[in-house]
Symmetry: C2
Subunit: 360 residues, 2 copies
Amino acid sequence: MAPKKGKLTLKEFSETLGLSKSTVSRALGGYSDVSPKTRAKIEAAAQDLGYVPDPLARGLKRGRVESVGIVIVRGTPALYDPFLSEFLDGVSRSLNARGRDLLVSTAGSTQEAVEVYRRLIEARKVDGFILSRTETHDPRIKFLRSAAVPFVSHGRSDSADDYAWFDIDNEAAFVEAVSLAAQQGHRNIAHIAAPPHMNFARLRLKGFLRGIAASGIASKDAPVHTAPNLDIESGEEIARRLLLLPDPPTAIVCAVDLLAIGAYTAVKSLGLTVGRDVSIFGYDGLPFGAYLEPQLTTFDQSGGDHGAQVADMLLDVIEGKDPATLQVIRQAKLLKRASDGPPAQSTEELARKIACGDAA
Amino acid sequence: MAPKKGKLTLKEFSETLGLSKSTVSRALGGYSDVSPKTRAKIEAAAQDLGYVPDPLARGLKRGRVESVGIVIVRGTPALYDPFLSEFLDGVSRSLNARGRDLLVSTAGSTQEAVEVYRRLIEARKVDGFILSRTETHDPRIKFLRSAAVPFVSHGRSDSADDYAWFDIDNEAAFVEAVSLAAQQGHRNIAHIAAPPHMNFARLRLKGFLRGIAASGIASKDAPVHTAPNLDIESGEEIARRLLLLPDPPTAIVCAVDLLAIGAYTAVKSLGLTVGRDVSIFGYDGLPFGAYLEPQLTTFDQSGGDHGAQVADMLLDVIEGKDPATLQVIRQAKLLKRASDGPPAQSTEELARKIACGDAA
DNA sequence: AAAAAAAACAAAACCGGTTTTGTAAACGAC
DNA sequence: GTCGTTTACAAAACCGGTTTTGTTTTTTTT
């Protein structure tokens, strides 16, 4: 257990074995021109004396550093994003299992993120990148593709299909939410959308509209308002605006949980009951949703799994697999809780109730 | 802008300048034996041609890699900790400003974290570590100290004072919370404590007790219950238990915001009003607290600043500064909101109210 | 049994820098 | 004007590995 001081070097190690550096290196590297007997001896000794090649020296020659990077863009849904923590945990686990590490940096915008990429590539600190929260037109993807640096993105951008990505079927999830609401009897269903430069926002809106069409609801009964920011305040503000429409929606499908939480506040402040007067659907599966009153119906993201899978994909790309063959889409899982249900009354009645309550 | 293919190497670079590798290297390194004229020329050319030394090669010779590591321990207050995100952001900013990067890994326990440290040190992937969420007896600190690896911890452990740390004055914060409550007229003040193996928990409890003593409250009127986990459920369960005591507290001081959020639920489920019947104090400054009804009174942590400062301290240690001289303590800032106030009634009256309401 | 081929290991070059040591020219002192 | 210092740069060693090329020795082929 005595941790060697200044580390055991290949030269020393091979000398104690009475062999040359090259033979030892090749033996450990699994090359063919080493006799089985010698190889066994070397491996045993390495184990024994705790010889581990210095990754710096190895990286210098090999051109790899066994680390991957992720640059987190501040703002938008904020760093304050539980999903992100879980995601990072998944990434880290997966990387560690394969002897790699994760380098994390932050940036104020995707543009700034590109600068960080540039620096990290130049400095040879990573072998590839993981992208998250992709935007519709994402400069990061453009850059990394042109720089020919391995990467995998969590979420697609518009520029389709010759890179590796992992994505949730956002569209299908929102079709599902709308269909469920329609089935429960809602005829006026609103959507609080996320800013459309986020790619997931576009897809969720698309799903919402498809769901509306499939349910035979007129588009005038399916108002879409876009939240300026993905935070609770915005959710409250927009939800309030929706409920004060002449034909208020009896169900509100929110692009993300934070908006849904804001919507709760709006509904309650109008003297209404979430889940009866107004149904609310979220998306993200924030743990917090289970503590709302009533518990929020939402979609689970299980960030850990996503992170692990994305990391695995990236390692494959780094090892030479064709990125275009690595495209995975997964279905979101509805977390049915208590914020949805058949509407207690029609839109007209709801409008009247709001008018009275609000005046009161 | 043409990004050089296979990177510009020192050899190539010095050849185009008609100088030797060594001279160029020494010029850029700021050594003395280069004429000012030559140095200027070299620096201009480096800027121009975009020459950046390969950190791998440099690290190999210098023994430094210009990265620091942080190993996040899952569980306990969970990865789902907004403070952590901000903290990481601060660390990253500070490091990037000084040309360093952050390597992030996760572990299931502090013991496991030590294994990760060992691996990262062996693999020479980092020059030092940042620790967070220190425990009272922290094996990580013991290990890093014995391994003589630079580190700075965010939060102290019991083993006092020959390493670098940055900490909040937890004790003072809780004295303040209790004093405020006492001043508002509370004579029965409870504490929901965090598990005592977390060092901050110990200090907060200590502060609570000191505040109680200073306010002349009998210890029998200051019950302390320890939450098994730092989550919302635990908070609810313990708060409920406290409120069903014969002499229920009119104020509950919680070790962390998550517990306070749980306490809200307990108070409300007993038909009581937070801030009137029962005052609640949190600690953490979770953004979410501002959306509770009523808004949670808590202490601000501003994780970003902490992270930045800790990172700066670590770089100082790595550069040879004596860790024992780097010990910073900062005062927490009370975020006075609406969950506290003078008690609406005495303990006895509250007990009666609870008994009735609960029966009803 | 001689020539060709394969096996097993060693020597040397290389990755891209930094640092130590060397050396020619310019400078200063006596 | 000779000798000792500086000054300014170059050559070479080194960091700790990997990989290419070389060299024996053994085995196979004919």
